[in-house]
Symmetry: C2
Subunit: 176 residues, 2 copies
């Protein structure tokens, strides 16, 4: 299994819908709409947003037009922030302290065998730090700019309208 | 689950027994002895060495005193080499191409939606590259030096004698 999988990918994709992609300010979106737009399970997206809210990346508002919005500017939300929010602080390497296993040690390994950080673990921690530094250099705003360069204007407008329609019709749908 | 686990840790620990830790040149060790010394399963260690040999990091010799030895100097074997040997080239992130899922697309996503590398995937590939660069900077020789600084001289001697005894007595044990 890879270190990072679908939860990270979905969370980042979902957050892109809260960026100012259409020039209409920071939008407020319901997790149900975000899920449906991407053909994802509404429950799954709701769970992702619970974690993102807990990490302080999004804030929720209640009411008919309520939903989630970014808690701070998109250029102040890094990919690492999102990863840590949805995956927790997941280590790259789990050290099993193999160094304590030796046929010469008997029942209790000597103190020196566990002193300091295991040399292998130290190498892995350095690699993890390099990875995290790189992930902290990319922001949600940069991803949004990338997406804006790929998605044709017609699709941008269509997406914006879709979300606006959903929001506008919410009251009507509830009433019947 | 972490990206790297016990296989990497065990492989590196095992390879340390093939470095010139005791000043007795590049030792030839049997996987059975390396396993027993660390209280590991002999089958498991044998499997690790099959992968390490396939990757060109160790070479085997046959016969009563046969076993494995490093295929090249320890300062020319990086932690990344060992990881790739035992884990394969494992990506940090598996992209599910979520970008192709959109309620507006209908049956077939438009060509532009899959053009180039997904922006999120690109960020992950950069982080993976940073991690791999870091792992490629640490060598087995450096780990051996670290271990030599931790292990007391008496333990080094005891370990060396243990392996020498095992090798010397191999013929005798087989005969009776």
């Amino acid at each position: 299994m890879s270190q990072y999988g679908s939860a990270v990918e979905y969370a980042l994709h979902c957050l892109l819908f809260l960026t100012d992609g259409g020039g209409d300010g920071a939008p407020v979106r319901s997790t149900r709409d975000i899920a449906e737009f991407q053909k994802l399970s509404a429950d799954y997206v709701a769970k992702l947003f619970t974690r993102l809210e807990k990490a302080g990346l999004v804030i929720s508002s209640e009411g008919l037009r309520g939903g989630f919005t970014l808690a701070r500017p998109a250029d102040d939300i890094t990919v690492l922030n999102v990863i840590d929010a949805v995956e927790g602080r997941k280590p790259l390497f789990e050290c099993r302290e193999v160094r304590a296993n030796c046929v010469l040690f008997g029942e209790t390994p000597p103190t020196w065998s566990g002193r300091g950080v295991c040399g292998i673990h130290a190498v892995m921690l350095r690699a993890e730090e390099a990875m995290r530094t790189s992930l902290a250099q990319s922001t949600l705003a940069q991803l949004a700019t990338h997406v804006a360069g790929v998605v044709p204007p017609a699709q941008k407008k269509a997406a914006q309208h879709w979300f606006q329609d959903r929001s506008a019709n919410r009251g009507r749908r509830v009433k019947g």
